[in-house]
Subunit: 188 residues, 2 copies
């Protein structure tokens, strides 16, 4: 711990602040209670638009985001939409890649490994007979998601693989996509 505590910033990760944050949360676990949020507004047909801005965390409402992140969602023409954005189920794929990548960068930095390049591709196989209601034996969602990483950095191939593995162990998106979670849907 003493060794890692003294590590400098690396890979664009402020390692001293990262460890100070861990220490602060260890001393006050309520700081780890977060609530993320989004809103969605239907536009037309299968086209809708989402917005992400505020969240609660570290004991307060976050005000660091002065502008909302906005996303369009739609079905492609072949699924009777107008292609104004990717289909909603597609954005699960960048979510898993990005979650593993940000974790990987933090872990590499904490371990003193300089990264040169991290790239990943994600594929999700889905049989639409499920959502189309044409085969009740077929699930609605992906039957498999595959993430393939290329990691180039100042470490052995085994150490670089270890970064991906440790990131998987601490990934919020991986946990939800593999284990599922409680989803409650209400209508006002």
């Amino acid at each position: 711990m003493t060794e890692t505590m003294s590590r400098p910033a690396r890979n664009g990760v402020d390692v001293p602040t990262l460890f100070a944050t861990l220490d602060a949360v260890k001393g006050a676990p309520q700081l780890a209670d977060f609530q993320f949020r989004a809103t969605n507004t239907w536009v037309k047909g299968t086209h809708s638009r989402s917005s992400i801005q505020g969240f609660y965390g570290a004991g307060q409402e976050d005000v660091s985001r002065t502008e909302a992140f906005s996303y369009d969602h739609d079905h492609p023409a072949v699924l009777v939409g107008t292609g104004q954005g990717p289909t909603p189920v597609e954005i699960l794929l960048p979510a898993i890649a990005a979650c593993l990548t940000s974790g990987l960068a933090n872990i590499a930095s904490a371990r003193g490994i300089t990264l040169r390049r991290v790239r990943s591709t994600v594929e999700g196989d889905i049989d639409l007979m499920g959502i189309l209601g044409l085969d009740h034996q077929v699930r609605n969602g992906y039957r498999q998601i595959r993430v393939t990483f290329e990691v180039d950095g100042d470490a052995t191939a085994e150490e670089l693989r270890g970064l991906v593995e440790q990131s998987r162990r601490r990934s919020a998106v991986y946990d939800v996509l593999v284990n599922g979670t409680d989803v409650v849907i209400d209508v006002k």
Copy 2:
């Protein structure tokens, strides 16, 4: 079926084409095999960028998207990032809202219900003691996601609720978030 087959376009949904598509897939189930894809490239620190463009489906590589959809992901300052985008786990929230909304619009249109307004808010509760590695009793992902819909349209409150319920039954994102799926991670 005859009645719904004869319904006109409504809510921006081309209902005759929707039913023709269902019929086409019923006659050739291999058309329902889809593969969605994304790529992600690490930028710096917890900042990465994803791209979504091509997919395989309806028996061929899709070429309808002439430009890629691009997404930035990052951690906010309070999580030692630079806030260049929402955190990866946040984008699961628009995914579920948008998936339910596009399904709802299709179902309403097939049922002859004109929609005036559909809006939803999503909240996801997560205890970061899990991903921070500070409490092994705490899961990494959301412990609960709540979606709240407001639906205004030319139907009774019960019929409008029924749209949300039927959309949930056919939602790809709902299925994955509730039941999980197989996620395979490789390093090249």
